[in-house]
Each structure stands twice: as structure tokens, then as C-alpha cells.
């Protein structure tokens, strides 16, 4: 059997030719095969509702009780020692002397048909609540940034596991030949906790790694083009060089016939050339109207950075990128969502930077019809404590936090799960496994069947857990 050139282009890095049986015979690649018939709309195991995803990650632990999880009880108890009753031990990882209940300094109001409560830090998102499905009580295994970020991204608290974007690329492949399948835009201030560990393909083939794009730099994608200092490289030298290289590789392949890896490498250079053409265009937000740019907040300093990344995310999705992750906040104990010192002064600036762009993304995707097959996910790694750290800050809290989803397959205006009266612990915890299972489900993947054999175990994004959250599905 001969493989077409297109097959090769689409299939770079995975086994084919004589390797295909070896792969099927179960070294690593344990993706269950698609059903023989029926239009799965791009799904792997069942019909997909979603073809592409944009994930907005609030790095540092966005406070639930100061944003979406209204807790009037905290105002009543303000200043008192936090006492959940019983013999429950109250722990706090970086220290909260006194455990004094801290009320939210922000005003809450109800919005939309659904009547969701939203605080004054998110005026734009508040107007979208009827499009959003809230997970009101996510829970994590750990109160520490590193492991918690790994958990939300990879399902494990340890380094070395593939993140959701890598799993999706592995499961579904690409939608375009011209751009990477999985793209990550870190905050312009720097990488999040765990640096690139959060975007890693880990033991999956390296082609599933998130490609990092830093739109604020002169060269947003590393090695996409030669360094500017290399003046001996010109468009002509590249054109002729590719021809020369292809000829050499063809001649070599003729001497070593039967090795599909050689053909794949030849194809990879053609793909690389396409990416050089397509990526700059996708990153060029000046091609958008002034009105669109303004909607994302590109015309105002506080929102310009995150807004541009959200707008680029939309352009990437339009052009066939399957998974885009946009980060708000770099690593570190401040300047992000990790509001240890003073919730009243630390939360509003980072909320302001993201609120309008997040809402713009929802509105823009709706307006362009992309809500039909695109999913937006807003997440963070954990929540914050109902009592104070120092005078007015909040320490980490794995007990409960909020995420939301919007777009294809999602029922807008609903909420799933509930935290206790203080937003301290979940009453019905939703785990990252459930969120990941739900996202995979929407993409036509049964999360229990998307596996990869590594070091003795058939690994999954959802480990041995995960329930699809049916209540939020349209």
C-alpha cells in the first residue's frame, strides 16, 4: 500500500508504513479506533460538538468569593475567627495567623435571565452570564501552585504528564497544515508556574507539545525564521536551498527505499515552509477592524496585552488551530491572581486586564458563528481562603473554586455544583478529571479510551477518574 503525500503531511511523527502494525501491536499508541461508519464530525469515538477550544487560564488561583461565588455569610462573620465547626482542622499553607473571616470588599449583583451573582470586578463578563455554564465548586488535591497547576493542566500533581492540549492533538490530529495544532500564549510578563511544564507533551510524541507564541516580541515564534543577524540567508537562498535539500533527500531515499521516516522528513520541510507563510498573517491583528480591536480592549493600556492575545486566539482558531491556551498572570507571589497581601488592591487590576477581553471573545465568537463548533473554557488552579492572610489577603484554597465554559454543546446560564456557606470547601466537588472528561466528550472523545502506554501503565488525561458533567451540556 502506498501512502499519499497528504497522508504523510497529516501524519507526521506517528507510525505508518511498516511501523503501523508495530504501533497497533500495542507499544504505545492505544487510541481506540474510530467506528468504521458514520459521520463523527471529527470525533474519535462519537459525534463531536466541538472542533476547537480556547482555554483562558487565570494563573495564581482566582478568588471565587470575590468574583462569581457570592457568600453573604462572610459579611456576617467578618473579623471573627473562622470556625467550620466539628473537629475539622483548618489548614493554611503559607500561614494565616488568627484565621479571621474576611468578607469580600466587592459589591455583588445578579445578572441576566439566569440571575447569576457576579461581583463588581467583572462588569463585562457579568453581561455574558446567560452564555456561560458555571462550575461553581471545582476542587483540587493540592493547595500549592506548582502541583495544582500541573493538576489542572495534565490531571496529575507531578511533572511529566501531557497536558490537555497535547492529548487533544494526539487524539484528533490537526485541522490545518499551516499552523501548529496546539498554541500557547503566556502572559507578556512571563511564564506561569511550572514554566513550559504546563504545556508539555511529556511522554507523547514531541509534535503534540504546545507551540509558544509571544506576540509582544519581534520574533513571536522561536526559530520560525533565521536570526536577523544572519544576512547571508535571503528569500532566494531559501527557495534554492529547499530545492537542493529536497533533491538530496530524494536521491538518498532512492538508495534506502522502504523507510517511511525519510519520506516524512522530506514532507516536514514542506510543512515548515507553509508555516512560515501562514503564521505571520495569523498573528497580524492590524488586519482586524478598529471596532474589533476596541472590543477586545486593544485601545486601552490595562486590557491591551491580554486583549491582543485573545484576539489572536480567535484568529488562530479561525485558521484551524485546534487548541489555544491564553494565560493571564506570570509565576510569582504577586502581579497575578495570587492575591496574598490585599484582595481589595490586588484583584481589581488583574480582573480589569482580563474582563473585557474574555467577554469580547464570547461575543465575537457568537457573532461570527464560531459558537457552533468552538468551546471557551475559563479556569484557574485553585481558589482562596474565606479568612484573611495578613490584614486583607487570602491564602491558597484547593477546597473550592469556579470555572466556566461557553460555546458549542454548552447550556448557557446554568451552574453545576455548590460550595459551602463560606466558599471554603465544595459540597459536591467537581474535579479537573470531570472538566477534562467533559471537554473531551464535547470533542467526540471518550476520555476512558484515549490512552497512551508509558512506563507500565496505560495513561489517560483523566487518570482513573472523570465523569462527564451532563448538566451543563446543551
Amino acid at each position: 500500500m502506498s501512502l499519499t503525500r497528504r497522508d504523510l503531511l497529516l501524519n507526521l511523527g506517528s507510525g505508518f508504513g511498516s511501523l503501523a502494525l508495530a504501533h497497533l501491536l500495542g507499544r504505545n499508541d492505544l487510541r481506540a479506533e474510530p467506528a468504521a461508519a458514520g459521520d463523527l464530525n471529527g470525533g474519535l469515538h462519537h459525534r463531536a460538538r466541538v472542533k476547537r477550544v480556547v482555554q483562558l487560564f487565570m494563573n495564581g488561583g482566582a478568588s471565587p468569593m470575590d468574583t462569581f461565588d457570592y457568600k453573604p455569610r462572610l459579611s456576617e462573620l467578618a473579623g471573627q475567627k473562622f470556625d467550620p465547626g466539628g473537629d475539622t482542622k483548618v489548614e493554611s499553607v503559607t500561614g494565616s495567623p488568627g484565621f479571621k473571616v474576611l468578607k469580600s470588599p466587592f459589591e455583588f449583583k445578579q445578572y441576566g435571565q439566569s440571575g447569576r451573582w457576579v461581583s463588581s470586578v467583572f462588569p463585562h463578563m457579568a453581561r455574558c452570564v446567560d452564555d456561560l455554564a458555571f462550575l461553581m465548586s471545582m476542587s483540587s488535591k493540592t493547595n500549592v501552585h506548582g502541583p495544582a497547576s500541573y493538576m489542572q493542566n495534565t490531571g496529575f500533581v507531578l511533572p511529566g504528564f501531557p497536558c490537555m492540549g497535547a492529548w487533544i492533538g494526539y487524539g484528533l490530529g490537526n485541522l490545518t497544515d499551516n499552523l501548529p495544532t496546539f498554541v500557547v500564549m503566556p502572559d507578556a510578563k512571563g511564564l506561569p508556574y511550572n514554566n513550559q511544564g504546563n504545556f508539555s507533551a511529556a511522554f507523547l510524541p514531541v509534535k503534540h507539545q504546545g507551540t509558544i507564541i509571544r506576540p509582544h516580541l519581534a520574533d513571536p515564534i522561536a526559530d520560525l525564521f533565521p536570526p536577523k543577524s544572519a544576512s547571508f540567508i535571503t528569500p532566494d537562498s531559501e527557495r534554492d536551498g529547499q530545492t537542493l535539500l529536497a533533491a538530496a533527500n530524494r536521491a538518498h531515499e532512492a538508495r534506502w527505499s522502504g523507510d517511511s521516516r525519510l519520506e516524512a522528513r522530506i514532507a516536514s520541510y514542506e510543512l515548515a515552509a507553509r508555516m512560515q507563510l501562514s503564521a505571520p498573517e495569523a498573528l497580524d491583528v492590524s488586519r482586524e477592524t478598529a471596532q474589533t480591536q476596541s472590543m477586545y480592549g486593544l485601545d486601552a493600556a490595562p486590557t491591551a496585552g491580554f486583549g491582543r492575545n485573545c484576539l489572536i486566539a480567535r484568529r488562530m482558531l479561525e485558521r484551524g488551530v485546534r487548541f489555544v491556551q491564553v494565560w493571564s498572570g506570570a509565576a510569582g507571589p504577586s502581579g497575578n491572581w495570587d492575591n496574598h497581601a490585599n484582595i481589595n488592591t490586588e484583584l481589581p487590576p488583574i480582573a480589569l486586564a482580563t474582563d473585557q477581553p474574555c467577554a469580547a471573545l464570547v461575543q465575537d465568537l457568537k457573532a461570527r458563528g464560531m459558537f457552533e463548533d468552538t468551546l471557551i473554557v475559563w479556569t484557574t488552579e485553585f481558589g482562596r481562603m474565606p479568612f484573611s492572610q495578613g490584614a486583607a489577603g487570602r491564602d491558597h484554597n484547593a477546597g473550592t473554586f469556579v470555572s466556566w465554559l461557553a460555546g458549542a454543546g454548552i447550556k448557557g446560564g446554568v451552574a453545576h455544583g455548590q460550595s459551602d456557606e463560606w466558599a471554603w470547601k465544595s459540597l459536591q466537588p467537581t474535579w479537573c478529571y470531570d472538566l477534562h472528561a467533559t471537554i473531551l466528550h464535547l470533542m467526540g472523545i471518550d476520555h476512558t479510551k484515549l490512552t497512551y502506554r508509558f512506563n507500565g501503565a496505560n495513561r489517560r488525561l483523566t487518570d482513573v477518574h472523570g465523569e462527564v458533567i451532563k448538566e451543563i451540556l446543551a
Binding site: 506517528s14 538530496a248 522530506i266
Partner: protein, 1003 residues
């Protein structure tokens, strides 16, 4: 629709094609690996141990063969007649199995079909009713099989005889020997990781002797480059890197000595038994060899969760979980590396496939429950190491000398007298300081009659004292700080903390010239104290780190003294004002209660250090103040002892500074909430791996399923953590540990052939691969074990075999029988790994720097990050900095920010064990190899070298081909590449040649 499922659809199509042509079958389906998991997933719930619907049971061979109420289910070799296949493929919903849920995927059905057609071979150990027992192949006793006598003409050694038997069975023919150029390139890259030079090619091709190849192999194995190559393989396996790898991805400044240990061990051909033992328990087994302590870098190689283990408070669930996971990483490293078992699968439940219980797993955790990862000190110079051990032993025995030995022996008496005189000379020069003293925290300061200052009143959390004074001494060489007991202090002090302790974070001496101006910090050389709290040594008071400090607990209620020696004498102009700043930032009122400062101008200030005090004994300083006649016997004994120790301390302090290695340790300086365990931490079996559900306490032990080896360690005392690791090392290196010997020969084989005899080098268990040549594996394992564990001998055996020396060309007939080349009818060709490519580029440009060892080269710009993790910039880095030309094994390995070029070429990042490297092909890899600044700049360097070495373009192209591809260009190539170089420059031609398949693949 652009959405495609080509990956899957294509694979199925190929599968079907191969299966369609199964008259000459493509490969054997393995029941345990390929079929059993399918049956387990789809059939066992109704046809298994608990239920046998229609009397059919599919989890045991005999039952499955017998069939059920409706007759046989499987007809060997006849999938078309097997009811099992009929039922799983039926389109009739009432007949189709399984009755609920999705039907089996087409590929799964095909696997079952092929398996049946290949004879439905169901090995005995495939029974699912119990996990693989001792009958699993990897646990069977090691018996060396006889070498088959059926050697063919091509056979060169026993390896070939075993391979030939299998080939004959499959109707395969071996390939002819590769040509000399191919052989040279293959074996040189394989053994040394470097490409041969054109000159080496010319020599080898011209060498007419029959043993030219064997001599080449010997030369390569003797080359120091060999150790560099194989150390890098080892670093993959054990996930070595040089940062912590979590959110606080702090660089480990002292991880590199372990890398050098590896290189040295491979080059020295250290016997494998010793190599294993050193890495698990070198400190306890070989205390005379400091390198054996460096070997413990192995246990510390993996990631470490600094924020959970150091920054968060103790006694939290998060902290305990982090400790369990930290040990999980250690035992995974030990067991995967040495025994190729997947013990980590037994953390939450008994291993699902292998005979590894949860109890086994937690017993292994108990082995390492007394160690953490931290910097530990060693003496790189063996002579210094011996000297330090000798002096330390002498110091210990001085403490134990009896009154009889100290006072009854004339020689001892005169030695002690001489030491007293020496001490007096050194000590008499101390001049007390009269200072103005302030407390930043608002404490009261009261001058005492003895010149000391007593602190009282407000008790702040933290404080900083400043003593400002002038002196008439012409120079200062050291400052003595006495912290003194006082009845006003808790437990009589000398600290203000409620337990009488104090923590001096930093001691600083500042000098302000008489003319005014800014105070200047005076550099310090070292510090001595009469007593150091465990983990709170006095050196911490001058290390520039506010989080470390000097403490004296539990020796409270007594006077103590610390001497700070200046790096060089401070000569004082008249009017110079000095100040001593005592920064005490530990918190919880760990503050000094009473203090006195003195200065000395002695030329030998190190001798001016205080006499060591002994808990509970008389104070040496007080004894010394009285004349010899006034001293009691007890006091004379105490003084003699103190003087001997004082003398030995001085000698110890004069030894060259020690080097640190990041390694497993049970003693280290604590930091924040990260402290050594005083004794091994209790380990409990955790129900479902849940930290909140502890069950029985675990005791040190290893696997219970290795025949002939006791699972539980017989340890006299449970608190000796070193004994636990020593027992572990003995268990691992027992000749009866069949896993260890099979594991290592298979691992070495994997690196030579790009695939192991078992293709899962870290898993010899049930879910791992089955050996393609089981007899050969056992023969090699026994040969290796019984002939002294020489890795070089094993390499030599393998690479001089005819099997290794075959051509890698594909023979169409053989490919039809064994397309996957499991029977080794040819050599496997492979893509060069990241290090080989990078090093070969440096060789071609002539820039490669072969300097060995030392701190890793940071091939990136580093600046302070927002928090702990520094900012790492690969883009702005000057690729021409000299360190960039070192071999790739010496790169600094940053876990969460790996080098983009190396990463694109599949270099692992150290977050996970990497027993096998993939060789991916991606568009981003192509872009990296074309455009990464390293490649681009090296292309220019290569061009410069060619320009300097040849005068015409065709000559330069010829040299380029010889350097990069190790061959002459053809006539066509010469003209095409010359034309390109003429038009676009030689550097572009170099760059393109570095991107050819011929360069990045080795045949």
C-alpha cells in the same frame, strides 16, 4: 471538511493490508500484550472469574479452549470458523458481543483474528485469575543456555549463533556485512556519540589487517568520549536534570559532580555491582571513597517540589502528600532503572498485572524514608578525603578519651600543655569592645559590668542589633561574639526565645572611614563556634542568606562564642568607625539576650577561635581562667579534651574547602520548613494511595516476587536509615536478582540496536514486551553477571558480532516475513539523537571543545525572575560564547525551560524517566534545524573552515561532504552544491547539508 482522522484511518488501512497478506505474516501477535487486554476490557465481566455466561470463561486458557455451553469459541488457525469472531463482528444486535456498549473497534477485531489465525497461541502465564507469578519469564531463574551449535558461516560470536537459530525458524537470511564507511560511522557514533573524521575513515578503509574493526572498537571503548556518550544515556534513564522542575524551578548548582561521576564510572568500566551499590548506598558501603557519596546524586536526580516541601508549613496534608510523592519518585527511579519493574503502579492498589503488592510498594518507600534531596559535601581529592576522615575520627576519639589516658600519660600531658600555651598565645590578644548598641526592634540595651550588653523590654519577633565603636588596635583580623547566659533570660538564655535559643541570621562587620562616607562591608573568610545547633551551623551566619542562621539549641543556659575571621587584615586609620550588625530574622523571637564583642589583631586568628564546650561538663573557658593548681581532676580532664579537639578543629579547618553535590542525604542544613528527618519518617500503606487513609505501617523491604530473595530486610535497628539503603543495595546486587541482570543487558542492547531484546527496557513485566530472543537475553545476563559485570566487555561482544555488523539495507523478501526486523536480519538504521547532531555540527565546524567535566555550561542568558525561578533566555544568548562549543553532555539542563533546538530533536527534559527516546519528525523540528541561531552560526563557522582549507568551491564542497557525510560527493552533487554555494554562499550550503536525511540518519 478539513477534519481528518488520518492517523487512525491510515493505521487501520495499513493494518488491514498487512493482515490481508498474512500468508507471509508480518508479525506475531502476542497474546498477553495484544489480545488479553482486549478480552479483559470487553469480555471478562461476563465470561471471567465472577460470571461465566453460557458457561464460557475467557480468562483462563484451559476454560477458553474448552469453550462454553454452545461449544468451542476459538478454533485455532481458523478465525472464520471461530464463534468468538462471529459474535464480536455480528451486525445482529441480539448476537453481537459484548451485548452492551460499543462493539469492538475494527482494529481490535483484526488483532483477535490474526491471533487466532496464527494459532491462538495462549501462553500459560496469560491466565488472568492471578497476576504473573514466578513463572513470568523475567522472574524465572537465570540459567545460561548452551550456545547453539548451528552457527552459520557469518557467525562471529555466540550472539550470532542465537540469532541464527531464530532466523532459520522464520526462514530469514542475515544481511551481508556493511561497508567500512558505514561500519565506522555506525560504531563510532554508537560508542562515543561523535562522528568519525575523514582521516579516521581513510585510515580504517586502508587498514588491511583482519582485526582492523576489533582494534577500532578497542580504541573507541578506551576513548574518554565513550564515558560521555553512555553517561548521557544513563541520564535519560534516571531523569537527571539540574533544576527542581516544579513551580519553584530553582537551579541545582551542584548536580554536575554526579554527571562527572557517571562519566568517570563508565570510562573506568566500574563493575556493575559496584556501580549499582554506590548509587543506592555508596556513603554507607564505601566511606573511604568520596566518589561513592557523589553517586547518591542518582537518588536525587528527579524533580523536587520545593514549594510543597520547603515553603509550606509542616503538619499539613499538602506537606505529607509531597513527601510521599517525593519518595515515589526515588523508588520509581531505583526500581525502573535497576530492575525494570513498574512498582509505581502499586501506589494505589496491588499491581494489576505483575506480582507487586501495595505492601511491597510502601516497604520500598520505607527504605528511603530517612533521606531527602539536598547539597552534601565531599572532598574531590581522595587524599584530603582520607585526611578529613582521619582527623574527624581523632576528634571523636578525643572526646572519648578517659581521665587515665588524658592525665596519666606523660606524652599526652606535654602535648596538652603545649596546646594550652598555644591557645593562650592566640587568645590573649582579644581586646573587648566598648560599643554604642542599638536594637532596631526597640529592645532595651543595658551595659553590664563585664562589658557585655543585656537586651530586655520589648520582645519583637525579629530584631537587628548594631554595635558601633572605635578601637585603638592598628588592625583587626577577627571578631569574637560571645553570647552569654543571664538569669533574666528564659532558661538563663543566652537567647530571648522562650526556650533560651537564638538564631543569628547574618553577622556583618562594617567600616566607616574617619572622613565619613558610606560604611563598607568587610569580607569574612570563615567562622568558628564552640557549639552549633544541628542544622544551624555558624557558617550560616555569614552565607548571605537571611533564611539560614546560627543557633545553640539545646545547649541553653550556657555561654557560647563564635569567632568571625576576616578575609584579610583590616588596617585601621585613626578615627575609623566600626560597626557590627547582628541580623536576627528567623522570627518567633529567636534573639540574642546578652552579648559581648572582642577584637584581635593576631596574625593567626584561626587559632583564636573558642575552645569547644561539652554538654553538661565544666566550661573550658572558666577552667582556663584559673591556675593549674586550682583545677579539679574533672576540670583538668575537660580542659585537656577541649584543647585536643580545638587543635583538631584547627587542622580540619585548614583543609581545602569541600565540594557540594546535590544528592540524597540524611543530614543537611535545614531551610525554612525543609528539615532533615532525625530518624526515618514513618511510612504507612495508604488505602487507594490516599494520604488521608493510612493503614498499617510499612517496614523496609523490596519485592516479594523475586525467587530466592527475602522481601523484608532483616535490620537490627529500625532507625538506622543507612542500614536500610545498604540492605536495598545488597538486594539489588544479589546474583539471584534475576531482574537486575536481565534489565541491564537488555538496556545496553537497546542502545546498540535501537530496540531491546525486550522492547520495553523499563518494563520486563506482564505488560512489557516479550523477548524476541529469550535464550540470548539469559545467556548475556549470566555472561555479564558471572564475568564481573564489565559493560565494556558487553559492548565489545555486541558490536563485534556479525549481527551488529550487518548492512541496514532492506531486503524485500525478508521484509515481507519480518517487516519490523525483530529477528535482526539487518541492522536498524536510526535518526541521530539531539546530542549527536549538535556535537557533529560542532565537529564539522571544527569548534568542538573536548574539555571534560566541571560545572555545567549555561547555554542561555539567566536573569532574576519574578520569584524563585530565574528568567531563562535562549534567544538572546551569544551562541559564540566559548562554553557553547562544549559537548552536549555538559549543557546545563533546565527542566521546565529546555533548549528549544534539543527539545525539538526529542531530548528528554528530565521530568520523566526516558528509557527510550523517540525520533519524531515535525515541522517545528525542521524549522529549528534550519533557523536555530546555533545551527545558523555553526554553518558560518564551517564555511570559514572550508574557506581556509581549500581554494576552490568544488574542493570546499568535497571537504564539506567528507566532514559532514563522511564520503565524497558524486559528480552531480559536486556541481549542484558548488553552484548553490557560488550563488548563495558556502554557509548556506553547509546549513542545507546539516539538514539532509543522510546526515541525521545513521545506517
Amino acid at each position: 471538511m478539513s477534519t481528518r482522522l488520518v492517523g487512525q484511518a491510515c493505521a487501520v488501512a495499513v493494518m488491514l493490508t498487512l493482515v490481508g497478506a498474512r500468508g507471509a505474516t508480518a508479525d506475531m501477535v502476542d497474546f498477553n500484550r495484544d489480545v488479553r487486554p482486549l478480552l479483559a476490557a470487553h469480555c471478562f465481566s461476563c465470561h471471567g472469574e465472577k460470571q461465566q455466561e453460557s458457561g464460557l470463561r475467557l480468562d483462563r486458557r484451559d476454560d477458553a479452549t474448552r469453550g462454553g455451553d454452545n461449544g468451542v469459541a476459538i478454533v485455532p488457525q481458523k478465525s472464520g470458523e471461530s464463534p468468538l469472531v462471529d459474535r464480536i463482528t455480528s451486525t445482529d444486535n441480539d448476537r453481537r458481543m459484548p451485548p452492551k456498549g460499543d462493539p469492538l473497534q475494527p482494529a481490535a477485531v483484526e488483532l483477535i483474528r490474526v491471533w487466532i489465525d496464527q494459532g491462538a497461541n495462549w501462553p500459560a502465564e496469560g491466565d488472568a485469575t492471578k497476576p504473573a507469578g514466578p513463572e513470568h519469564w523475567s522472574l524465572r531463574p537465570l540459567v545460561q543456555p548452551a550456545v547453539p551449535a548451528t552457527a552459520t558461516a557469518a557467525s562471529r560470536n555466540p550472539i550470532d549463533a542465537f540469532v541464527a537459530v531464530n532466523m532459520a525458524k522464520h526462514g530469514l537470511q542475515s544481511s551481508p556485512e556493511a561497508d567500512r564507511r558505514t561500519l565506522l560511522r555506525r560504531v563510532t557514533l554508537d560508542l562515543t556519540g561523535l562522528a568519525p573524521t575523514p582521516e579516521e575513515l581513510d585510515d580504517f578503509v586502508a587498514d588491511p589487517s583482519a582485526d582492523a574493526y576489533e582494534r577500532l572498537v578497542d580504541r573507541l571503548l578506551a576513548s574518554p568520549r565513550y564515558g560521555e556518550r553512555w553517561a548521557r544515556h544513563w541520564m535519560d534513564v534516571i531523569h537527571f536534570a539540574e533544576t527542581h522542575g516544579n513551580d519553584q524551578d530553582r537551579p541545582r548548582e551542584h548536580a554536575w559532580p554526579y554527571r562527572d561521576y557517571l562519566i568517570r564510572s563508565f570510562n573506568d568500566d566500574k563493575p556493575y555491582t559496584r556501580f549499582v551499590r554506590e548509587q543506592v548506598a555508596g556513603d554507607v558501603l564505601y566511606p573511604d571513597d568520596s566518589q561513592a557519596t557523589v553517586a547518591l546524586g542518582f537518588l536525587a536526580a528527579g524533580p523536587w517540589d520545593e514549594s510543597s516541601l520547603m515553603c509550606i508549613v509542616d503538619d499539613t496534608v499538602d506537606k505529607k502528600l509531597a513527601q510521599v510523592l517525593d519518595r515515589d519518585d526515588m523508588i520509581t527511579n531505583v526500581m525502573s532503572t535497576f530492575t525494570s519493574t513498574t512498582v509505581h503502579c502499586a501506589r494505589c492498589h496491588n499491581h494489576k498485572f505483575d506480582p507487586i503488592s501495595q505492601a511491597d510498594y510502601y516497604n520500598l518507600q520505607a527504605v528511603f524514608a530517612g533521606v531527602d534531596r539536598a547539597d552534601r559535601l565531599f572532598d574531590p581529592d581522595p587524599a584530603v578525603h582520607q585526611q578529613r576522615r582521619l582527623l574527624t575520627r581523632q576528634k571523636q576519639s578525643a572526646a572519648a578519651l578517659t581521665a587515665e589516658q588524658l592525665l596519666g600519660d606523660a606524652r599526652m600531658q606535654s602535648e596538652v600543655a603545649a596546646l594550652e600555651e598555644e591557645f593562650r598565645r592566640a587568645g590573649s590578644t582579644w581586646v573587648p569592645v566598648v560599643a554604642t548598641t542599638t536594637s532596631a526592634g526597640g529592645a532595651t540595651v543595658a551595659l553590664q559590668p563585664d562589658g557585655s550588653q543585656l537586651f530586655g523590654g520589648t520582645l519583637p519577633d525579629k530584631d537587628t542589633y548594631t554595635f558601633t565603636f572605635e578601637t585603638e588596635l592598628p588592625a583587626v583580623t577577627a571578631v569574637k561574639l560571645e553570647v552569654l547566659s543571664d538569669s533574666s533570660l528564659p532558661h538563663r538564655g543566652p537567647g530571648r526565645q522562650e526556650n533560651g535559643n537564638l538564631h543569628l541570621s547574618e553577622f556583618k562587620l562594617l567600616a566607616t572611614p574617619a572622613s565619613g562616607g558610606e560604611p563598607v562591608a568587610v569580607p569574612l573568610a570563615g567562622a568558628f563556634a564552640d557549639f552549633d545547633q544541628d542544622g544551624w551551623g555558624v557558617a550560616a551566619a555569614m552565607d548571605g542568606k537571611i533564611e539560614t542562621a546560627w543557633g545553640i539549641y539545646p545547649q541553653v543556659g550556657k555561654d557560647h562564642a563564635a569567632t568571625f575571621v576576616l578575609r584579610e587584615p583590616l588596617h585601621l586609620a585613626p578615627g575609623t568607625r566600626l560597626s557590627v550588625v547582628l541580623d536576627q530574622q528567623h522570627g518567633r523571637s529567636h534573639l540574642i539576650g546578652r552579648a559581648r564583642l572582642s577584637l584581635t589583631a593576631s596574625a593567626n586568628p584561626a587559632a583564636a577561635r573558642p575552645l569547644p564546650a561539652h554538654p553538661g561538663g565544666p566550661e573550658p573557658a572558666a577552667i582556663l581562667a584559673r591556675s593549674a593548681a586550682e583545677r579539679t581532676i574533672d576540670e583538668r580532664v575537660a580542659l585537656a579534651r577541649a584543647l585536643l579537639e580545638w587543635n583538631l578543629e584547627g587542622q580540619l579547618a585548614a583543609l581545602p574547602a569541600q565540594q557540594a553535590v546535590y544528592a540524597a542525604c540524611h543530614e543537611f542544613r535545614g531551610n525554612n520548613n525543609f528539615r532533615p528527618a532525625e530518624k526515618p519518617r514513618p511510612v504507612h500503606v495508604l488505602r487507594r494511595g490516599d494520604i488521608n487513609q493510612p493503614l498499617a505501617e510499612a517496614t523496609p523491604g523490596a519485592l516479594s516476587a523475586v525467587p530466592g530473595l527475602a522481601a523484608k530486610f532483616d535490620l537490627p535497628t529500625s532507625d538506622d536509615e543507612g542500614a536500610r539503603r545498604r540492605a536495598m543495595a545488597a538486594w539489588l546486587t544479589d546474583p539471584a536478582n534475576v531482574l537486575v541482570w536481565r534489565s541491564i543487558v537488555n538496556r545496553v542492547w537497546h542502545y546498540h540496536f535501537d530496540r531491546g531484546i525486550v522492547d520495553s527496557p523499563n518494563d520486563l513485566g506482564h505488560m512489557g514486551g516479550t523477548p524476541s530472543h529469550p535464550e540470548l537475553l539469559d545467556w548475556l545476563a549470566v555472561e555479564f553477571r558471572d564475568s564481573g559485570g564489565s559493560l565494556k566487555a558487553l559492548h565489545r561482544l555486541i558490536v563485534t558480532s556479525a549481527t551488529y555488523r550487518q548492512s541496514s539495507a532492506v531486503d524485500a523478501a525478508s521484509a515481507r516475513i519480518d517487516g519490523d526486523n525483530r529477528q535482526l536480519w539487518r541492522m536498524n538504521s536510526r535518526r541521530l539523537d539531539a546530542e549527536c547532531i549538535r556535537d557533529a555540527v560542532l565537529q564539522a565546524s571544527g569548534k568542538l571543545d573536548l574539555a571534560m567535566g566541571g560545572p555545567s555550561v549555561r547555554q542561555f542568558n539567566e536573569s532574576k525572575g519574578i520569584h524563585v525561578t530565574p528568567n531563562i533566555d535562549y534567544r538572546g544568548f551569544d551562541v559564540d560564547s566559548p562554553g557553547n562549543f562544549r559537548r552536549s553532555v555538559y549543557r546545563f539542563l533546565f527542566r521546565t525551560l529546555p533548549d528549544p533546538l534539543m527539545e525539538s530533536l526529542d531530548c528528554p527534559d528530565g521530568s520523566q524517566l526516558a528509557p527510550v527516546r523517540s525520533a519524531s519528525v515535525t515541522a517545528l523540528q525542521a524549522l529549528s534545524l534550519l533557523d536555530n541561531p546555533f545551527v545558523v552560526r555553526q554553518s558560518e563557522h564551517t564555511a570559514a573552515r572550508l574557506n581556509a582549507s581549500a581554494s576552490t568551491t568544488p574542493e570546499r564542497i568535497r571537504l564539506l561532504f567528507r566532514l559532514v557525510l563522511l564520503r565524497e560527493p558524486t559528480v552531480d552533487e559536486s556541481s549542484q552544491w558548488s553552484a548553490y554555494a557560488e550563488r548563495h554562499g558556502l554557509a548556506n550550503a553547509c546549513r542545507m547539508l546539516f539538514n539532509t536525511n543522510e546526515f541525521v540518519f545513521v545506517n
